[in-house]
Symmetry: C2
Subunit: 326 residues, 2 copies
């Protein structure tokens, strides 16, 4: 797989140096260990820190800024950051009010964030994100992965912290955002880690349903890329998982996996909107674009968050990051 790359070992650090240089109005980069933090630190309140393997950009570093993360620690591609790196990030931005650690539910990430928590001198709460509905019924529900819904959970926790909510309140809002959110993904092509080969191939006439954020095999394959049918399958899985009923209000995110052009994402978004309209669900807020990616995978995911007044109010509050702002 051809990539813009020098030495694969330098991929993350070189990419982050470009990121930090491009957005020096919003972020600062520490290089040993790698931590991206806000250029202007929050004066008070709970800090919000996330992180995970690189290769999902703009997740997580693109969400550092007002109304979202205080810091993010990027690991190697598809590899958890180290406990020491996470603890260093927290030390740079957290104070006595404590910190919420937003963690995608993968064994390696959870373990490293838990080890980091034990190293901290400030109160800390973990918010685990496990929005992926793909593997429901195939594994224990506790094994659900964290995928694109992580963006929404980071936003809600970040907004709560910015508003001055206490550590238990921020934790509660994070858990509620996660419980209100489900995602289902679909891939047309796979990706490969810089310097390595692709882990599996998807046939020229096949679509991989229920794919995650790491080019791992999904739930099933179908012989179609008809966007209307794909959207129907994705929305049906999510609606069943959230037990969505007619008349409910939701946020809809149509997320690209990195290699799919914006025109196709908007088309898929239109199909998802039509499917939700058919179910009588009221879509109040939308996001369309590349928000949580799997390197160069062509593909997309649909995420739905059930909204209530509290979540909507936090969602609408000001946010100013490199990847999300209003």
């Amino acid at each position: 797989m051809k990539k813009f790359l020098n030495d694969p070992n330098d991929f993350v650090s070189e990419s982050l140096s470009g990121f930090a240089a491009a957005h020096s109005d919003i972020v600062e980069l520490s290089t040993a260990p790698l931590v991206v933090r806000r250029r202007v630190a929050k004066r008070r309140g709970v800090a919000v820190v996330s992180g995970g393997g690189s290769g999902h950009e703009p997740l997580h570093v693109g969400y550092v800024g007002t109304g979202m993360l205080d810091a993010a620690c990027p690991g190697a591609v598809f590899t958890s950051p180290t406990p020491g790196q996470i603890a260093a990030a927290v030390k740079q931005v957290a104070r006595a009010d404590g910190v919420v650690l937003v963690v995608k539910n993968y064994a390696g990430d959870v373990k490293c964030f838990e080890l980091a928590r034990d190293m901290l001198e400030v109160p800390a709460e973990l918010v685990l994100v496990n929005d992926d509905v793909a593997m429901v019924g195939q594994q224990h529900v506790t094994d659900r992965r964290g995928v694109a819904g992580t963006v929404l959970v980071e936003r809600i926790v970040g907004a709560a912290a910015e508003r001055g909510l206490s550590l238990p309140e921020c934790k509660r809002m994070g858990d509620r955002a996660n419980q209100s959110t489900s995602t289902m993904g679909v891939a047309l092509t796979n990706c490969s880690v810089p310097g390595a080969a692709s882990t599996f191939e998807i046939g020229a006439d096949e679509v991989e349903l229920g794919v995650g954020l790491h080019g791992e095999p999904g739930q099933s394959r179908i012989k179609s890329t008809n966007a209307r049918e794909v959207a129907r399958l994705l929305v049906a899985s999510i609606a069943a998982d959230l037990k969505l009923a007619a008349g409910e209000t939701v946020l809809l995110m149509t997320n690209g996996l990195g290699g799919t052009p914006l025109g196709e994402l908007y088309l898929l978004h239109a199909m998802a909107l039509a499917e939700l309209a058919r179910l009588g669900v009221d879509v109040r807020r939308t996001l369309v674009g590349n928000f949580a990616t799997a390197l160069e995978s062509a593909g997309a995911s649909v995420t739905i968050m059930r909204l209530d007044d509290e979540l909507l109010s936090l969602w609408d509050s000001p946010v100013h990051t490199t990847a999300l702002r209003w």
Copy 2:
């Protein structure tokens, strides 16, 4: 090539319906003919209208909004909008103060916009964008193509119009922005129009230098994807074209062609910044992301605009579109 698609003939209209639904706070869509215009029209002053073939999203529809375009007319994929469609767009947004038509320098686009101008009842000026340095020396300079620099020209003309400048002044600023801007592109993979096959293939170990925005062959091929070397070649071509000297101030845009992940774009951006630092050029503003694309092509372009106080002041003025905002 697999795509999120229903009937290929419906690709543009279905995609635009998703776009308009996702961004109903900023834009409105007319469907016969297809025109995207601001939801809240400008009260007075010169209108700015652009358009071109679809498949370059967010160009042009993503740049409709305050401080940029008043309307955009999207053609079929890689096909110019019709003169009637362009005239309809102008009629929806322009008044006695007149309109600037920003046109990428392709024969079909130029002809259709010129025919449209003859149909208008308001004063109109064309600003042709021909920022692509790839074909210099291979064809007449008047045949230079308009590529990613179009985003910068649309921004400058839009800012000038928003500030209340007259039609001749807006035209002058647009021409100056174009003359100050050069772009060079590079592709790792090609793209295909929905429903059609790819026009040419790029070998697994090859990089196509000087590629345009339509999957057309470029200037030359090299056997490398070393990002440092690619950035050096791109910046050298642009610096020669602009006759950039040490101490000059510029804007640097590292633009993705649609299929390249953000992490690679930031890495390429870091390499371009290092090359400009080596040349003693002062980079004052930056953009990194997918701003002018060629469907799912993996690849990128580097664009440099020489800045002066007037261009910088217009660049920094408020902009609120779906794809660019501050």
